[in-house]
């Protein structure tokens, strides 16, 4: 009897400990916000999935939207864009609005019929640039320098899942470098991982968008540990455009449209501009450039 009681206590103790004692501290790994609540006094919910690299502008847009729409609660979920896509596809989560850097991540959602092409809103050009560890011991001064023997590791985000990886491979291929760099390439799960490898000098070079996340989520980066070498010529990739999309399954289509409208209004554009993401003049209406 005593044994059973103690064993059960121990089991309960461990379960509670595991469940309560060691909570995740990473917003990116947190569970999604609860489903919309509809009841007396309950606020309308708008679920927005945004890449963690655009944390700063979308936090401001969230505040701005809630201020202009007092009855609405914006649930902003931040994570890597391809993780957000996987959550929608595999875990059948259904946000109202999705944002992606480069639009490549949204391709799968369009193919799955979850986003209509007309609902894709490319809004800001993204400048792909080559960056290296601050010390730049490999002596990289151009893309061609990646072929040098001193460059041992080139970190590249997964080209199948991320737009940054997709455009990196596209640019290096068009420059005639990709095949010759194969022995140096380390594919990482996401763009933030490549950044981390360069910041810690584990990789000699990588590619990132100049403004995202270098400017839009500075608190998450050790920017003092890297330096930008050059912009990748525009004719080698893209166009890379930060893209905002309304899901076809949006439970509050009206609010989602309102959010998009607000994002491309003057105050919204000012927010993006503040973080070096100037909006395209035509932003707010779908264009061919948005098509993946």
């Amino acid at each position: 009897m005593q044994l059973r009681l103690l064993t059960q206590s121990a089991a309960v103790a461990v379960l509670i400990t595991a469940g309560w004692g060691c909570r995740p501290r990473n917003q990116a790994q947190a569970a999604p916000a609860p489903a919309p609540a509809h009841g007396a006094g309950a606020k309308d919910q708008l679920q927005v999935y945004a890449p963690c690299g655009m944390e700063a502008p979308f936090m401001e847009l969230e505040t701005l939207f809630e201020k202009t729409h007092p009855g609405v609660d914006v649930n902003l979920l931040l994570d890597n864009a391809h993780i957000l896509t996987e959550r929608i596809l595999d875990k059948r989560e259904r946000p109202d609005v999705v944002v992606s850097p480069g639009g490549h991540e949204l391709h799968a959602l369009v193919e799955a019929g979850l986003i209509k092409t007309a609902d894709l809103h490319p809004f800001s050009p993204l400048d792909l640039c080559l960056f290296v560890p601050r010390a730049n011991t490999a002596g990289v001064n151009s893309m061609e320098d990646l072929l040098k023997d001193s460059v041992k590791v080139l970190a590249v985000a997964d080209p199948d899942k991320t737009s940054i990886g997709h455009f990196t491979v596209e640019a290096l291929t068009k420059a005639g470098l990709w095949d010759r760099l194969q022995s140096k390439v380390v594919i990482t799960g996401d763009a933030s991982q490549t950044y981390k490898h360069v910041a810690s000098a584990k990789a000699d070079a990588s590619f990132a968008y100049r403004s995202c996340p270098l400017k839009t989520a500075p608190d998450k980066l050790e920017y003092s540990k890297v330096r930008v070498i050059q912009s990748v010529p525009e004719n080698l990739y893209g166009p890379a455009r930060a893209t905002l999309a309304v899901m076809s399954t949006a439970s509050r289509r009206d609010l989602a449209d309102e959010f998009v409208k607000m994002a491309f209004s003057e105050p919204g554009r000012a927010v993006f501009a503040k973080f070096d993401m100037p909006c395209l003049p035509e932003a707010g209406g779908a264009t061919d450039a948005a098509k993946p």
């Binding site: 103690l6 060691c22 990473n26 950044y195 584990k202």
Partner: protein
């Protein structure tokens, strides 16, 4: 001729005036070591526009022998916003330190003073890896109650009764339950599970429960599970517990199917003598509850005032319970067990953490790139096999897994596969085990666990995505 001269003069004057439009920035200061006035004598200071180094070429100057530096540069305020410029001190054997140019820079026009107090970078690169999870004071408030909780369970839950349930006569569900749960009760590590397994094997324990016990014993160690939650994250700790239980039972069942459940010979069916010891169940339950409370509160990231307010009453209650509830003999036994656990773990863990950090820092990414961004069969199988061959002292598998995830950027699946095989299997352990059970059983057991851990790693990797350390981004 005179006209030409006049035009040249005007043009020259225009150029000079235009040059005067550009802003001359003079930056000076000193670089000293933090915590004193000793100057940094070797290194450089750099003025740059972060993120736009290709538009504004960084300007560097050496640090002089007295630690001072002097930078002078002409900038065009219309092209380079002065408020976005930064100054960085890069002293030898010092942490890199970057500061924004003071806001008054543009207005004053005079020299701008920017002084640095640079921290020494000795070992910092290594310590940085674990500064958020292991090498932090916060870990004490979690791990101290964890050690006391583990010790309380070991000291006051009669382990003989648990081990007796592994015998061939015991009902199957009880036997497997005891095999899986025993690791938590016994606080085993990968080294002391082998002799214990040999003991119960010789007494004729059932094949299935015995092998389930051999695997799960060190793998669900209570302290190790809590450590996993603390260092890598809650879902990893939870999944580890669940996966170990499933792998242990499946391994046991498969081994029993392949080699037969009941065994004869030796002291088959012999039981360990049951001893009555420890305090009453009520007192033990209260003790476990208090320790659990301290563990949970200790993991909260709250202000110190709140922590003290929440833990002080429970701490006092614990002392009162130890004095009046447990009694002197039980308290001494409990604390001795806790001390034994601490001695078992800490002297190995701390040097191991430094060694792991060192290895992670200096191992090229190309070594582990087959596990990076890859949740395939080969990546998971490779990681599981590596974990099953290497000997990992208790808890070091967690630190190793964390370093692989955080520094080497391997995928989540392979990291989980490694953590699942590392505590329960090792080459030295295999050599000892084969003497008890023979090569066939031993190799079959290792193969089953490795394959199951591979599957478990792949499953978790496919569900979780990428790993982001709480301090890393």
């Amino acid at each position: 001729m005179r006209k030409v001269f006049c035009v040249a003069c005007i043009l020259g004057l225009a150029l000079v005036l235009q040059a005067d439009d550009s802003q001359r920035l003079v930056v000076r200061g000193t670089v000293t070591r933090s915590g004193g006035s000793r100057p940094v004598t070797d290194g450089t200071v750099e003025l740059r526009w972060p993120g736009h180094e290709d538009a504004f070429a960084p300007v560097t100057t050496p640090i002089r022998e007295d630690g001072s530096y002097f930078l002078e540069v002409g900038t065009d305020p219309t092209a380079v916003p002065t408020r976005e410029l930064t100054v960085t001190a890069m002293g030898r054997a010092c942490e890199l330190l970057e500061k924004p140019l003071p806001a008054t820079a543009a207005a004053d026009g005079g020299p701008i003073q920017v002084d640095f107090a640079a921290k020494s970078s000795t070992l910092n690169g290594i310590l940085d890896i674990f500064h958020c999870c292991i090498l932090t004071w916060g870990i004490l408030t979690v791990m101290l109650p964890a050690f006391l909780l583990g010790a309380a369970i070991t000291a006051f839950v009669p382990s003989q009764a648990v081990l007796n349930l592994l015998g061939p006569q015991a009902p199957r569900w009880k036997a497997y339950g005891a095999a899986v749960g025993s690791g938590m009760v016994l606080s085993l590590c990968s080294c002391n599970v082998v002799p214990l397994f040999a003991g119960i094997w010789r007494r004729g324990a059932g094949t299935g429960p015995a092998f389930a016990f051999l695997y799960s014993g060190p793998a669900v160690n209570l302290v190790a599970i809590i450590f996993t939650c603390q260092v890598i994250g809650l879902p990893f700790g939870l999944y580890r517990t669940l996966a170990v239980a499933v792998i242990a039972v499946v391994t046991g069942v498969l081994m029993a199917r392949l080699f037969g459940e009941a065994r004869t010979g030796g002291a088959a069916g012999a039981s360990l003598p049951l001893m009555s010891f420890g305090p009453s169940a009520r007192v033990t339950g209260m003790l476990l509850a208090l320790l659990l409370y301290l563990l949970v509160v200790g993991s909260f990231r709250t202000a110190p005032v709140w922590r003290v307010s929440l833990t002080a009453p429970a701490g006092l209650g614990l002392v009162a319970l130890a004095v009046w509830g447990l009694g002197r003999a039980n308290t001494v036994a409990w604390l001795k067990e806790a001390w034994h656990l601490v001695l078992l773990v800490v002297p190995v863990l701390l040097p191991a953490v430094l060694v792991i950090g060192l290895i992670a820092l200096y191992t090229p990414l190309t070594v582990t790139r087959w596990m990076s961004g890859n949740n395939g069969v080969l990546a998971n199988l490779g990681a599981a096999t590596f974990g099953s061959l290497m000997y990992f002292p208790i808890l070091t598998e967690v630190a190793f897994g964390k370093a692989l995830l955080k520094v080497m950027g391997i995928s989540v699946g392979p990291a989980v596969a490694l953590i699942l095989t590392a505590p329960g299997l090792s080459l030295p352990g295999m050599i000892i085990i084969h003497k008890e059970v023979g090569w066939t059983r031993m190799l079959t057991y290792v193969a089953i666990v490795t394959v199951l851990a591979t599957v478990a790693g792949m499953f978790f990797g496919s569900q979780w995505g990428s790993y982001l350390c709480s301090c890393a981004f």
